[in-house]
Symmetry: C3
Subunit: 276 residues, 3 copies
Amino acid sequence: MKVIAFLTDFGLSDAYVGQMKGVALRICPEAKLADITHGIPKYNVLWGAHILRISRRYFPKGTVFVGVVDPGVGSERKAVAIVGEEGNVYVGPDNGLLYPSAAEEGIKAVYELNPEKAGLPEIAHTFHGRDLFTPAAALIACGVNPASIGRRLSADDLVKLPKIPRKPKVMGEAVRARVVYVDGFGNIITDMGTSELRNYLGVKLGGIVQISFDGGRTWVSVKYGRTFSDVPEGSLVLYEGSHGLIEIAVNRGNAALALNPARDVLMKKAAKQLNR
Amino acid sequence: MKVIAFLTDFGLSDAYVGQMKGVALRICPEAKLADITHGIPKYNVLWGAHILRISRRYFPKGTVFVGVVDPGVGSERKAVAIVGEEGNVYVGPDNGLLYPSAAEEGIKAVYELNPEKAGLPEIAHTFHGRDLFTPAAALIACGVNPASIGRRLSADDLVKLPKIPRKPKVMGEAVRARVVYVDGFGNIITDMGTSELRNYLGVKLGGIVQISFDGGRTWVSVKYGRTFSDVPEGSLVLYEGSHGLIEIAVNRGNAALALNPARDVLMKKAAKQLNR
Amino acid sequence: MKVIAFLTDFGLSDAYVGQMKGVALRICPEAKLADITHGIPKYNVLWGAHILRISRRYFPKGTVFVGVVDPGVGSERKAVAIVGEEGNVYVGPDNGLLYPSAAEEGIKAVYELNPEKAGLPEIAHTFHGRDLFTPAAALIACGVNPASIGRRLSADDLVKLPKIPRKPKVMGEAVRARVVYVDGFGNIITDMGTSELRNYLGVKLGGIVQISFDGGRTWVSVKYGRTFSDVPEGSLVLYEGSHGLIEIAVNRGNAALALNPARDVLMKKAAKQLNR
């Protein structure tokens, strides 16, 4: 029994996800359907790729992942199925969404989907998720060889995008990172990993980091902790979150409401520590 | 193995949908549960009926559909199960929500549900979705004959509402349609079909349509394309969307934010084309 | 075949719920996964406990419930599995979230989860829902004895919180209750049960209640009905809702938008009735 796991930027208000699920059940009734999320910010292929990559490891081996963050739907961009070396398959647009996951697993084979073999009889120009990607994934989940519904490509031909985490930019004694996401709790997620924090700022667990969202005019001190409750209720904490990235939160509060974050965040080691 | 597919205006913040799923699993553990959507705008029976009708074809034959957009819950409106000629069953309130789907499939039989036979032992006056419609659907999914939990009605007795798409109103050289929905991408969906666009305005694919949301005071030119990427990033495009209706979008943007649509939209062929 | 049913305050925009589902399917592929809701207001353990308690009865016997409203994640609070006398199991933080459900069912045994036996190899300090509670629940759903992944506790050791419904505070001829939730329809849900309404105010079905959200300066008259359609469209109605609590709604409208409710609501019997 195979799992088909969906990741999109469709949200759940509309019937787009529901129709994809219907198609999957129609083509492969025995598949188990699961959602990674449908809340990827619209058109944000980069973040979708990161979430798919960090989420895939929690699913059973042999899962068929359908990823649809697809601003170029209906254009010339390819539709692909990538078979991984551990048995997972990644189906979606060739726009960089699937590549980091597949590359991390190891790429066994890449196929460009043939809409006539892999898709529904009618394919809407605006909805390949329903009419091409999901049918292809459901066929594969039910045992169809991807080679029979697409033509072989080289992994070199796949579109690649910059990967998260990224190196911060050094600016004097501070570094500049990017805010890549704010989650439903208001936790502010940066594109910086823990090793970057330690290497560039030299701050240890329990130390203090100063952060600025206005280019360095005002700074806020934040404790570098392990979890929310390492600081008092209502206080800021900086920690490695479950996305594998440095996050800023308020214990039992909403950091995004408290700080009104901009796209760039500057970080530096607090002076007190520097003087030690 | 049967699929039970849900469509409601309940949203997903509350536990209403979750409780319905529990009831379904309790009564018919082997059923597969699926969601069409729970994001139908509150009380909008007309749009719910359209979404159910265009979505049903993507589900396996023999699906039991539970539709709950039910502003009259607890009142005199009937609770019904409609058996379709292709083997699907539609369960919900008799308020026009189910009729277009059932009529399109062909109506084999209609039953008014008997709450004592079809419902839970206690039926909340405000939540027939959980206490009556879902139990009835789960019984039917597990093989119970609808005739044994309800009494036969004539299809003529069912409530019918106007159907989408609708004919636009001709107003000089323009036509007036209605905005029936704005989706999560900000795409503006009208109640006009493609044949109406072509017949009334005589615009061909690739042509230009002028649209107005303020009764004709200001007009915006929009290309009639096949998909978003038929226009440059940030530009407006008018196209037949996956709802089978004329939609207006911004390529990689949000048309509702750009245009602030009112309920009525006027459309006319661009002058340049008329002079050709 | 076991059901694992999830209740959290995670929302559905992020991938947190999706990763928990993946973990469950990986550990116990034959489990059926269901959602009660992920829309519990952030950190509101009290409301989460109420929703879990009123929802659990709709699920099949033997369901493993995973509850995660967990502001103290990563702190000293215990992780527990509570086995109920009817065969359900409740897994989550020991912060009062699970207790009302388990106590209502009857508590057979309580175990403090051993992260090394019950959790994933790596446990994020900020996400026990994915790395500890869900793995434990999936093991239990697949037949593992909770005693083998935790150590026995006494039910007396569990954290207990005040229970909903609560007694209103008598203030002259009025009573004061609390607004505990506003649902997706804008229905205003109080912490007062029907028996409290009848006992303290002496209002009968069909009678009129006066309510105030500003400490008694202004009052609005509301009919005490059974369901929305007991009042004309657009009118207020007070009724026992499906949460087992007194709610205030607008028939086919949004009471929260109409009334802008504060945290406290005063209620008194309308003068006309008192004079009868």
